[in-house]
């Protein structure tokens, strides 16, 4: 019986809703628009965040890194994986290749030194790499302006660095670097290529050479490396994969520290968290504004029906039931708007996802938090945005019906019937 009763009030609410079609459609449009705006905005914001993470991690760092626990933040030359004993590099890389979802693992040695040619000398960050593995993780190989990745006796430099020391592909440079035994390593290298990552930090300071060349220059044995950087296909998997990597390698040497990008790029992580949090605030504001508009409309609708409410009250309907019809009306309005919003939002999202809007023609690319950002407007699918927006929409309908419902309940039957 209660079920039939409940269905009855829903039906009455539904009919009431469509008594003034134009008004209801306009109100529903406002709510649908709010939903679409909210979903799209969160999607765009997620897109920007995802792109920032990708740009921030795919240039050099990768999404997961292994260091000796002493290595960061000082990046000391002696703090190699496994300490001064080093590590079985081939075994380590083989183990990492086995971990599912790790799509690339690149060993690295770092050093600080001077790059010099003729009268020009500049300080540089020397990075010893495996030229076969490095392209799987970082973007150096994809961003060669000229030449190739470095082979034995060769070096790859950023375009700014190349400008500073006035060298081109095929020229000779001198490298000077403090070595692990306290001596001053120095040797000649031939420039194999020039890269440009569009960030001043990298292009002006990084010089890449073969892992073994740099180890020799810095008097480090081949078992000693400072870092393994790894690529994960989807950045959101980073934390879980980092844990798996940790399990896979922990027994290989003492003191290994495996970190996802959110730990070794804390500023980027902070910024992306901030962006996600601000999504909710803005979505909240959109629906907050909608609440008052919809409440106003519904209030007018209830005033128009004062006499009806008075009649049903006079016929013995409980106050609660009268209020409930109005609330049901609000919820139904929200549901209708949601349905319409979903029908608009989903194709729109899919379309933008498939056809990102490239703004670089107008604004160029810029760099932020050390990562080069191409202003590509795209959306990222996630369930969070639509679910949150949908809930917010229905809650909006409900909330905006409460005050009108309360007014409807308070209609005094005798007065409303006797006057107008």
């Amino acid at each position: 019986m209660t079920q039939a009763w409940g269905r009855l009030w829903w039906r009455i609410a539904w009919r009431n809703l469509w008594r003034n079609k134009r008004r209801t459609l306009l109100t529903a449009s406002a709510l649908s628009f709010g939903f679409v705006a909210s979903v799209l905005m969160i999607g765009l914001s997620d897109g920007v965040v995802e792109q920032m993470i990708q740009n921030g991690t795919e240039l050099v760092t990768g999404q997961i890194q292994i260091h000796d626990q002493e290595f960061l933040p000082e990046r000391g030359i002696h703090d190699t994986l496994g300490g001064s004993d080093g590590i079985d590099l081939a075994g380590l890389l083989a183990a990492l290749d086995e971990v599912p979802l790790v799509s690339g693992a690149a060993p690295r040695v770092y050093g600080g030194g001077l790059v010099s040619s003729g009268d020009e000398t500049v300080g540089a960050i020397l990075m010893g790499i495996d030229p076969l593995r490095e392209p799987n993780v970082s973007a150096f190989a994809e961003n060669l302006v000229s030449g190739a990745m470095p082979g034995p006796g060769q070096i790859l430099v950023g375009d700014q660095l190349a400008d500073d020391v006035e060298v081109d592909v095929g020229d000779e440079v001198v490298l000077v670097a403090p070595a692990a035994d306290g001596s001053l390593g120095n040797d000649l290298f031939v420039v194999s290529g020039i890269f440009s990552l569009d960030t001043g930090l990298m292009d002006g300071a990084y010089a890449l050479l073969g892992l073994e060349d740099l180890q020799f220059l810095m008097a480090l044995p081949q078992s000693r490396i400072h870092e393994v950087a790894m690529k994960v296909d989807r950045t959101r998997d980073s934390n879980a994969v980092a844990e798996e990597v940790g399990n896979a390698v922990q027994s290989m040497a003492p003191g290994l520290l495996v970190q996802p990008w959110s730990e070794f790029l804390p500023q980027l992580y902070f910024f992306t968290s901030l962006a996600s949090a601000s999504n909710l605030v803005i979505a909240g504001m959109i629906f907050g504004m909608a609440v008052f508009g919809v409440a106003n409309t519904m209030l007018i609708a209830t005033y128009e029906r004062r006499r009806e409410f008075a009649v049903v009250r006079a016929l013995g309907t409980a106050r609660r039931s009268v209020g409930l019809t109005v609330v049901c009306e609000g919820i139904l309005l929200g549901a209708v708007s949601l349905a319409a919003g979903v029908m608009i939002a989903l194709p729109l999202m899919a379309w933008i996802h498939a056809h990102p809007i490239d703004l670089s023609r107008w604004v160029g690319s810029y760099s932020m938090m050390g990562s080069s950002v191409r202003p590509l407007v795209t959306v990222e699918y996630s369930w969070d945005g639509p679910i949150f927006s949908g809930l917010a929409l229905v809650v909006t309908g409900l909330a905006s019906a409460l005050y009108p419902a309360w007014k409807a309940v308070r209609v005094p039957p005798a007065d409303a019937l006797s006057s107008r």
């Binding site: 300080g123 403090p178 120095n186």
Partner: protein, 266 residues
């Protein structure tokens, strides 16, 4: 630059490799400097000004990860010019450093190239020691960059100057001086004008490193501290410089301190 090789904290010192000077007078003197301090420094300085010297030196470097000893030949003229050549170990024999005024060049025999040390690397370690390239250059500029006062005068107990009548000079950087230290304190014995120690503080007033002098003896006809030890305060590391031979008045001219001479092997 995010990367920092593990080098000792950089800074300046009156590096004895370039003549056993305490301080060197040069350039304009600020009104903040105590005239009496200046007079003493000037007196000490006059003994060496314009002098040329040659020294055979050993530099023993101890760090957490390695220890080694360099044998060096050094020549200097006043505080403006100096040339240092590494004699051993073999891997670095022939490596040489030339300092003229504010500039430093290194000659690397392995690649047969001369490299001018860029400004960004001046705080880098010199040959892995606890001296920096900046130490070589800045020595001649102390009075230009710092206000100097006598912060203590009298008999001091303990330390290298135990029971001696000493002056203690405190140097604070002039407002716009391009320096690294927040404060330098140096103690000098009154009797023979010999330095006993110098302490280097950062901008927060924390002790960064201490330099101590010992083994005072006649070399080349003059009293000098034969041994100088530099110890960064955040570790047990040290660099000890010891003079084996020291001669003055060689009659070296400025021409001696040339890039051509930097490259020449003995």
């Amino acid at each position: 630059m995010r990367f920092r090789a593990r080098l000792p904290p950089g800074g300046r010192a009156s590096l004895l490799l370039f003549g056993p000077l305490v301080l060197a007078v040069g350039g304009p003197v600020s009104a903040q400097t105590d005239p009496r301090a200046l007079a003493i420094i000037d007196e000490v300085d006059r003994l060496w000004r314009g002098e040329s010297s040659q020294a055979r030196v050993s530099m023993a470097i101890e760090t957490e990860n390695w220890s080694r000893t360099l044998e060096l030949d050094s020549w200097s003229l006043g505080t403006e010019y100096s040339l240092i050549r590494v004699l051993s170990p073999a891997r670095e024999a022939g490596t040489a450093t030339l300092k003229v005024d504010d500039e430093v060049w290194n000659y690397l025999p392995r690649v047969d190239r001369t490299i001018k040390v860029p400004p960004s690397m001046m705080v880098g370690s010199w040959m892995g020691s606890h001296f920096t390239n900046d130490d070589l250059v800045r020595e001649s500029r102390l009075i230009e960059d710092y206000d100097i006062i006598i912060s203590f005068e009298g008999v001091r107990e303990g330390g290298a100057g135990d029971g001696q009548d000493v002056w203690e000079f405190t140097m604070t950087p002039k407002p716009e001086a391009p320096v690294i230290w927040g404060k330098i304190v140096q103690e000098v014995r009154k009797a023979d004008r010999m330095p006993t120690w110098a302490r280097y503080y950062d901008e927060d007033g924390e002790l960064v490193r201490q330099m101590s002098f010992s083994g005072y003896r006649e070399m080349g006809g003059r009293l000098v501290p034969r041994t100088m030890t530099v110890e960064p305060s955040d570790s047990d590391e040290r660099t000890v410089v010891t003079y084996h031979e020291l001669t003055f008045d060689l009659g070296l001219s400025q021409d001696f301190f040339s890039l051509r001479n930097l490259r020449a092997r003995n």
